[in-house]
Symmetry: C2
């Protein structure tokens, strides 16, 4: 049995489709871009695309799969988005109503599927640049906070900016900013460095998701825009039906994650 | 009478709206972002936004003005897009049918207006960095070429990539690439450096728009994605009605053009 970190995306997705893998994608297919998924009726797709365009740091669009298609030709030709993610969530009117391992029967005929960037590429780039990533050291998910910043609205999509936080040794904060700025599709550079109050965050223990951090002495809290912002706005919009990946159970694409920084 | 280069965008647009200015915006309100305009029915807006998202270097979106609105709250609060550009073009089924100085009566009720970035900010940044801009020295428009590269299609929008070219002294090519890469909303860094054949351009004298260049000895041709790409794709889509700015007669926004590079 080989290490999932070394599987090709195609090998990994085949196992998912066959039911042999329904766990998280953390640590799987290292070096390949993973994507958030959001599926909704074509009726709402223009407003959501515009919302993403207006809030690119929080909602970086990788690809949009048009009505009638279930494949991203740009990021994973041939992959079926209805079966090749390990776990999905189903929302109706903004309420989570189901979690399942395939959504073929639910996929609306006129559905538009959005693939959005996630912070994983930045985690890898930080490690390669010698910046420690505390939540990985602790084996946790990065802490997510709601801020008092409002995103720019579009149609029925609106809501507060959510951020995640990585504690960074003070001497490496500039490097962390420089490295992550090279990956705009993975949320890019920090939104805020230092005092949490600048974002309206009163207590770092009060996480919206992930785990409260355990900063080491000399660490500075550094905040990046977070994909939870898009999920929140989409839920608040109370669409009749929305399908997403389950947290941590992403779509593993064929796109090398270093590509963005070099071309 | 003061120099138009020093007018505020609001002063400039007031003169346009009152009919006192219907000339080009070249050299007007220096230091402020100018935008291309494309107005179309809401019916086509999702596909066009997606087309822009998939071809960001050629079609950088600054803002999208939603149905029922005629103002960009983000780039020029209070400005009326129907009267505050000095000159408009009107296309029906892809054919240019009219050129006029205001379009209030033509503006569809369900219109969506796209503001797209233009190369002007890059011209200014190059000059500030000590890189000569030959077409400005010659008092011409930059040459525009059609390439053999196809843009990524979306819905009915598709077509070849158009580029413009600036001849750059060989020793300054790296600097020109670095400087323009800081302005993704003004087409960003070069698509191609050197041999025109690499883009399928056989003859630099065969321009699609602008003026054939007069390179100085030691100049290297450097190619950037060009907003003409978006215009071509939109014309090829043969929309019942599309309104754009007239070439060189842009929308002057309130946004400082250096903003993108610093925040």
């Amino acid at each position: 049995v080989t290490d999932p970190a070394t599987w090709s995306p195609r090998q990994f997705r085949d196992r998912v489709a066959s039911g042999a893998w329904n766990h998280s994608t953390t640590g799987v297919c290292l070096g390949y871009t993973q994507a958030n998924l959001a599926v909704m009726s074509h009726e709402y797709a223009f407003d959501f695309l515009l919302f993403c365009q207006r809030n690119q740091q929080a909602c970086p669009v990788l690809d949009v799969v048009e009505p009638g298609a279930v494949t991203s030709e740009l990021f994973a030709p041939g992959a079926d988005l209805r079966t090749e993610l390990p776990r999905y969530r189903v929302y109706r009117e903004g309420d989570l109503v189901d979690e399942r391992t395939e959504v073929t029967d639910l996929w609306p005929e006129e559905a538009v599927a959005f693939l959005l960037g996630c912070a994983l590429s930045c985690d890898e780039a930080l490690l390669e640049a010698g910046v420690p990533v505390r939540h990985l050291e602790d084996g946790m998910q990065a802490p997510v906070y709601l801020t008092d910043h409002q995103m720019v609205a579009a149609g029925r999509f609106a809501g507060p900016l959510a951020v995640n936080m990585r504690p960074v040794p003070a001497g490496l904060v500039a490097r962390a900013a420089a490295v992550t700025s090279r990956f705009p599709s993975a949320h890019g550079g920090p939104m805020h460095i230092g005092d949490p109050a600048g974002l309206g965050i009163r207590d770092l223990a009060d996480v919206r998701a992930g785990a409260a951090p355990s900063p080491r002495p000399g660490d500075v809290p550094v905040f990046w825009a977070c994909g939870v912002s898009a999920e929140l706005a989409a839920r608040r919009a109370e669409l009749p039906l929305m399908i997403t990946h389950a947290p941590g159970h992403m779509f593993v694409t064929d796109r090398p994650s270093g590509l963005e920084a070099t071309c």
